[in-house]
Amino acid sequence: MSESTTDKIKYGLLKTIDISGFKVFDPVVRLLFGEEPTKQAVDIVKYLVTPIVFVLLCMALWTVIAPRHKTKSGEVPTPTEVWAAAVVNDTLNEREDEKETDFALSGEGREDAIMEVSAALIIKEAESVELKSDLLQIEKDVKAEITGKIAPLQEAYDRLSQKNRMIKAERETNIHSLAEGVASKKAASADLLQAIRDDKAATEAGRDAEKLIKEEINEVRNNPPKALKNAQLASNAVANEAGHLSKRLDYLKTGNRSLKVTEAEDKTVAALQKLEDASTPAAVLAAAKLVVGGEETAERIAEQRYPRTATIWFQVKRSLFTVFIGFIMAAVIAIPVGIMCGLNKVVMACLTPIISIFKPVSPVVWLLIFQIVVGAFFPDPENHPLFTFFASLPLVGGLGINPALVFSACTVAICAVWPALVNTALGVSSIDQDHMNVARVLRLSLWSRLFKIIIPSSLPLVFAGLRISLGVGWMVLIAAEALSSSDGLGKFVWDEYQNGSSHSFANIIFACFVVGIIGFFLDRIMILLQRSVSFDDGAAVV
């Protein structure tokens, strides 16, 4: 039976989809290859369209409900606002990238960049000026419009309040005369009391009426036409862009690394000249020291990195790196210990109390403990060999690895170690007795028993455990970063919460999606790994 090429492609695709855990797209592929179109269409509607519609419904619900809930940090952002926040964050990151390149540029590249940026800046500034004048015009118009709208209201208000005051004065005279009457026993005190009560009620009613008009006025004043808001936004955006360009220009013209290096080198040359000219030993020594110092400075500057502002993508990279380190630490501890637990009941008995007591401990407690413990190892983190080593590495050097990252990673490790350990132990201890019998009959040595039978047989469960571990680790990490102000997504969320600008809430919800989506992909990767090591073709638990 020979398979056609299309069939091969089709089944290859189907298998890839199955392995990567996106089985919902299975009918789509089958439909594309024309297999039972009606059945596939039904499946697509059932398992693909319906969920999408459901998600869209949820988004609609969110859009409707969010603005109705006023919090002290403003309205709950709608999906559009969250998307806008995402775009803003991405732009910020792009700009940091640009500034970083500008910082490192030298020679002709720098000259070209200066030309380019200057040209762009002139255009943007012109645009900005234009927009600003537009904005002023619009502001004027709007002001006139608002004043026009408010004037009749204000008039009505003034009239009402004057009328109220007059009526009030009348009532008060009346009360006074009644009081005199009561004093001279000509009137009943009950009438006076009633009059006072009526007066209070009438004053209240008058005030309410005034308030209504006042509110109307405020409404008009606080809700300028959309055009104004749009014009403000547009003007702000362009001004922002122009500001960024002028900052870039700064980095190219004055803050540039190559410039600083040249400056330091010039100083060294001058010092060398001084060394030549010096005649007294003291002067020679001083000049020589200057030369050496100048050389060192030039070298140091040449290695300087651009001091990046932590944008969200930087935080994502850092968090991923931290969780990776923590996860590796957890795996390195959990797998050997788990194997020993599974193989030896005494080891298991020894470790059971430790596992059962430390497993439920909150990550927050671990974080504090590690903060203290790890801190003690690095009294001078700036010059610690570990961190200088990390800083010199190519890819992760820019992540700013510091003790905070180390104890965040330790916290991740200690929280992620338990699921992996317990599952490994389970996998090893539940190994098929028949397979062990094979090992016994063949008299396999401990090593071949371990590597040919025990580990392969327990791998699926080991990976199931590691998958849970990674999920736990990612959740713990975000909390740890938020609490410890160690750079990462958690800190991003915490900073936004603390800073409380108008975008903060949207940024937090954006970060929430970023965390979720990354967590989802981490899980998928682990499923892939799990599937690739499982010998029984077991379906992944999604």
């Binding site: 019998n437 094979v438 016994r440 009959v441 063949l442 008299r443 392969p456 010998f535 029984d536 073709d537």
Partner: protein, 296 residues
């Protein structure tokens, strides 16, 4: 070494404690002697302790009392000199059939070169008919093919003794006949002393030189031993057409039926004198041969 007493099982007893702490003997005073190169079937009702005897001989199950001697050496624990083929193929699912067989070969021929070992492995896989499926994983093979790998793995160890624990129990009848022939062919060539556990009367007659009938447990023991005098190598059709075939069959069946009837009663252990006794027909021999399909 005495070739006539190559494997000696003497007063073999296995007892397990019941919930009240009393020892209940599953197998008691089991006596059997195998000549070198002989094939002996052990037949009996399921649960009578056939497999217990075999696992004790394999060393996988400690004995309670008695003695087990293979080639002049007392059995102490499992080892590659007593290869076992289990009812389920017991292949390691993360290894190809080649790697599965190689695992044992590496243990036994550790002095050989890599090429030699590879050749040995290929040879044994080809004699069980798997020359084309050497690099398949167990999940890609049928139950019969998997069992062939199990047989190749056992034979490749060049064992003193081959222990077959209902190796065809989970296979369909056609595959079963194929595999019976595969094993007989190998055994005719290699002359390995073999113990075959089965509950299939026809299989026992076709495969073995002697059939050891076990009484029902508890305290199961050797009931009777029936000698099957057919010449080797055997041809299935000739065996089936043999004048005495149905007599042997009837003898075995009647013993098994009697065990069924006497289930409750305690069956006295038979003495050693029954060993190698000439064929004795029990009184209540079934006159008419059973009308079930032969060879199944």
């Amino acid at each position: 070494m005495n070739e006539n007493r190559y494997v000696e099982i003497a007063n073999l007893t296995k007892a397990y404690p019941n919930p009240f702490g009393q020892d209940i003997a599953v197998v008691k005073d089991f006596n059997l002697i195998l000549r070198k190169g002989e094939i002996v079937s052990v037949i009996g009702h399921s649960g009578c302790g056939k497999s217990t005897v075999l696992t004790m001989l394999a060393g996988l199950n400690p004995i309670t009392s008695g003695s087990l001697i293979v080639d002049g050496r007392e059995v102490a624990g499992p080892g590659p000199d007593r290869a076992v083929v289990f009812q389920s193929p017991c292949l390691l699912p993360w290894m190809t059939s080649f790697e599965n067989v190689m695992l044992g070969i590496n243990q036994v021929y550790s002095h050989g070169t890599k090429v030699e070992r590879k050749q040995i492995c290929e040879y044994y896989l080809s004699i069980v008919g798997l020359a084309d499926s050497m690099h398949k994983y167990p999940r890609e093979m049928s139950g019969g093919m998997q069992q062939r790998v199990g047989i190749a793995r056992a034979i490749a160890l060049k064992p003193r003794m081959l222990l077959l624990d209902e190796p065809f129990g989970r296979l369909d009848s056609l595959t079963r006949m194929d595999l019976q022939d595969v094993i007989l062919e190998i055994l005719d060539r290699e002359r390995v002393t073999t113990m075959l556990i089965t509950h299939d009367v026809d299989e026992a007659i076709y495969m073995s030189d002697r059939v050891c009938m076990m009484t029902n447990g508890p305290e199961a023991t050797v009931g009777q031993v029936l000698k099957i005098p057919f010449a080797r190598p055997r041809v299935r059709s000739e065996v089936l057409d043999h004048a005495h075939y149905y007599d042997f069959r009837a003898c075995l069946l009647s013993f098994l039926q009697k065990q069924e009837h006497r289930k409750a009663a305690h069956v006295a252990s038979f003495s050693k004198k029954l060993l190698d006794a000439p064929v004795e027909f029990v009184e209540d021999t079934v006159k008419e041969p059973a009308k079930e399909p032969v060879g199944v």
